[in-house]
Structure formats: C-alpha cells, structure tokens
Symmetry: C2
Subunit: 198 residues, 2 copies
C-alpha cells in the first residue's frame, strides 16, 4: 500500500468486487442476518464461485475489516505523522484519517458498526482501540508540549475528536457537493472550533 | 415537562419501567429482531400484562422515540434558546442537547439508530431532520450576524456539530468519571476547538 489517502482503486476484478458487494450487504442487512446465499444472489454468482474466492462469511468480514484497519494504521505510519511537533502530527493524522474514511467509506462504516460478537469482530475492536489510544497519546503529548490548551482533558478531547471524524460516515457520500476540502475543514474545526468566533 | 435537562426521573412505576426494559432490549438485539416474547421475558411479566400497558412493539418504539424527540425539541423551546444572539442561543442549545443525551441516554441512542423501516421510524427520522434543520438555520444566522467565521459552510458546521454531540452516546455512561462538565466541555470544543491552541 502506498499512501492510505490517495490509494488507487484496484481494478474491480473478481475478489475485490465480491468484497465490495458483501460489505454493502453487511451494512444494509447487518452481518448476522446476511447469509452466503444472500451474498451470492447480490453478486449474481453461484455460492460455489463465491467460496472459490472466500472461505466463508467470516473470511469476508475479516478481509473487509482489514482493509479499514490497514487504512487507519497507514495514517499513523505516514512520514509526516511520525516527525514534527505533536500538534502538527495530530493535524496530519486527522486530515489523513478523514481521507481514509472518504476513500474507504463502506469498509470504515462496517468497522465502526462492529460490536464484538465474533473473533474477527473482537480483533477489529481491539485494533480500533489501539488506534484511538495512539491518537489519545498524541493529544496528551500536545498538551504536555503546551501546543494544546491544558483545560482540555486529553482523553475527552480524543473521544470528541474521534466522534466528530467517525460521524462523517453517517452523511458523507463520494462526490457530495461541498466535501472537496473535508479533511482540511475537519482539521480546522478540531483546532479552531466547529463554529469559531471570527 | 419542565426543563428537558433537569427533568426529574419519574417513579419507576409499571409503564415507565417496561418502556426502559424494552428500549434496552431494542438496543441490544435490534428492534426488528426483538419479539414481545423477548420483552415479556426481559421484564419478568406475562405477555398479556405487557399488552395491558402497550398495544404492541411499535407502540413501545413510538413511546421511546417520543421521549427522545420531546427532549430534543424541549431544548429548542428553552427561554434562553429563543432569545439573544444566534451564537448565544446556539451555545444554550448545544449544552442542553448534550444534557438531554446524558439524561435520556437509552432513548436518544435508540433515536440515533432509527433507519426508517416503519411508519414510527420514518416519523422519528423526520423529527430528527427538523431538529437538525433548526440548528443549521441558527448556525447560518450566526454566520450572517458575523458571530461565527464565514469560511465555515453552515451546513457542514451543523453536521459536524451534530456528529460530535451524537457520538457521545457511543461511550458516555451515567456517572462516568470526567463527564460532570460534559455539556460545557462540548460547547467549548464547538466554539474554540476540540484541541485548541493555548
């Protein structure tokens, strides 16, 4: 994977197209309520063709959640997210996290709905928590460095930040007017206010 | 209803206790997957006792969603939310909205999960949209009055604001340490930044 934000769409070959169809069904019907039967029908192929690409429903879930998790952790690995002041790194991470959410919308949406009923879901939850912990540590560093106001509880700030970013999946759709600069808009909202004084 | 924020808990008599049990089950299992059988079992009463209080599952959903919707619209009706400058009214509304979310957590959680599959759900969605439209209009008024920076698209600001507030249901639990001043903390985050410069 190159940049998690500008990642090129892979050619919509067999496996990726099936994964995308499955994620759409999981989001619409709920993972538990979706059968391999439903998935084959939605993809317009036979169940055995489906099994040729994926061992089963949980393998699909795992592949989908890995794609979202890889995108998120790719953000933390960006060179600009690893050097510089804590506040500058936080700016880079917030913008790139919004970028991943926009580029990988269905996968991130699925990740945010995970509740931990299967081994795969518990793994994904643990990865989400690790990502949030990394951001929380960075907010704490920014407070310690005097770059962020100390009347903010870093844990609460990190929760509100992640809540603000994640809520975007509720309304964002690719190409939606007014969202071309969403990553920078969210950075500004986080550092200056959603409704800042002039 | 007096203040939506300081609303006193009603005595946990029959009807209210059943409603609270039902909302918990709806949240855990999903509304569609919950039967009156499940609800009676969870409440520890017979199905016919349950029907004595509520005509059925959708009546329970309606009562639960009405409680959340009444709480939200009660915020818009607060005297301090109806007079003063747009920015001041917005401050009052944000704080009171967070207060309602905290006081009516399960009911607001259920409202935020509604997807519009039944007539009751479509009604609740329409009410949510009306609430959001009222806040969006107020953000717009604050921009027009020069109280809020005009480089913010009012529609986007209103979405981020509502996303930030609503995301609190994901982690807030009554009595959680560090949440005593949550309404004011969210107001400060909205107007000055979640991670503001010193």
């Amino acid at each position: 994977m190159s940049s998690p934000v500008k990642r090129a769409r892979r050619p919509s070959g067999g496996r990726d197209a099936l994964l995308e169809t499955a994620v759409g069904e999981f989001i619409d019907r709920g993972y538990d309520a979706t059968s391999m039967e439903d998935l084959s029908r939605a993809a317009g192929i036979t169940k055995s063709s489906f099994y040729h690409h994926f061992a089963g429903k949980e393998a699909l879930l795992r592949a989908a959640l890995e794609r979202a998790v890889d995108g998120l952790f790719g953000v933390l690995d960006l060179p600009e997210a690893r050097t510089g002041s804590p506040a500058d790194r936080l700016r880079v991470i917030v913008a790139a996290q919004v970028g991943v959410l926009m580029a990988e919308l269905p996968y991130v949406t699925l990740l945010l709905r995970v509740r931990g009923n299967t081994e795969t879901e518990r793994w994904a939850l643990e990865r989400r928590r690790a990502f949030d912990a990394a951001v929380r540590a960075l907010v704490r560093d920014a407070v310690d460095a005097g770059e962020v106001r100390s009347d903010v509880d870093p844990a609460l700030a990190a929760r509100l930040l992640s809540g603000t970013i994640n809520s975007i999946v509720e309304w964002y759709r690719p190409g939606r007017p007014g969202t071309a600069t969403l990553p920078e808009d969210v950075v500004r909202a986080a550092f200056s206010g959603i409704v800042p004084a002039p």
